[in-house]
């Protein structure tokens, strides 16, 4: 699939008629940020593919801010998007640096060491895979897990099927990759 364009990234945002003014400056701001976001995601997080997710989260924050305030000009929209982008990058960097240790060495049995291929060892750490995914994407994935169709998820979230699938695509790709590699190993 081709990479999403800045316009694609705005798919998930819907505006009531009185707030349609937000759409155009937002698309322009996303267009200006797009190249740099790819570069920053690559250099700071080691994965350019994270850029769309980060921008999407920044778009949501920006839109939320704009919807609750008075109309403003394109420069201010750009500044707001930039600020939200930096916040999202900080959040992801923190998440990547956090190491979580669960349990203690008391819980390690000799069996674990003797049997490196124990069933639990091959379990996919979905929390780890989805740790840096925005909360609304996590919720969408849980919704899809509890029903059969993306169209039903889209109705619950008040968006389009295409938008929700695009938002979840990267997370799904990661899960698919892990499941496939696990299948190859077993």
């Amino acid at each position: 699939m081709r990479s999403p364009s800045p316009s694609d990234l705005c798919w998930n945002v819907r505006f009531p008629p009185e707030q349609e003014w937000i759409e155009e400056p937002l698309r322009i701001a996303v267009g200006h940020l797009w190249e740099r976001a790819n570069h920053v995601a690559r250099s700071q997080l080691g994965d350019e593919a994270l850029a769309p997710e980060i921008i999407e989260a920044a778009i949501e924050k920006t839109v939320l801010h704009l919807q609750t305030g008075p109309p403003c000009g394109p420069d201010e929209v750009e500044l707001l998007l930039e600020r939200s982008f930096r916040q999202e990058m900080r959040r992801l960097r923190k998440a990547n640096n956090r190491l979580i240790f669960v349990g203690s060495n008391q819980e390690l049995t000799s069996g674990t060491a003797q049997n490196p291929h124990a069933r639990i060892d091959s379990a996919i750490d979905l929390e780890g895979i989805l740790r840096d995914v925005p909360s609304n994407v996590r919720f969408a994935l849980l919704l899809r897990y509890s029903r059969s169709r993306w169209s039903e998820v889209a109705v619950v979230l008040g968006t389009t099927e295409a938008a929700i699938r695009l938002r979840c695509k990267r997370a799904l790709d990661r899960i698919r990759k892990k499941l496939e590699s696990e299948n190859h190993e077993t």
Binding site: L126, L142, R147, W150, L172
Partner: protein, 87 residues
């Protein structure tokens, strides 16, 4: 227009992926003591009234690491499907 799958081997609802994921959770994450499970009523709401459920109430991604919750979700989904057909 028909939506195409992001994966060449799956359908437009990523059915295969979610089936595999479900199987994986059932096989690898037994939780007989139901540690960290949301209340069954929350899972019922996730099926019946998802608009009123929050990620916090679901204990974030707990369901993806819990065979018991996954099993209960499957049962609830089945019941809902059956009640939908009988109506």
């Amino acid at each position: 227009m028909t939506e195409k799958s992001f994966s060449p081997t799956d359908d437009e609802n990523d059915t295969l992926l979610f089936e595999k994921l479900q199987e994986h959770v059932l096989a690898h994450y037994p939780n007989p003591e139901r540690k960290g499970c949301p209340d069954p009523a929350v899972l019922k709401s996730l099926i019946d009234d998802p608009g009123n459920i929050t990620l916090d109430a679901l204990n974030d991604l707990h369901i993806f690491k819990c065979a018991e919750c996954t099993r209960l979700l499957m049962e609830l989904r089945q019941k809902k499907k059956q009640s939908g057909t009988s109506e």
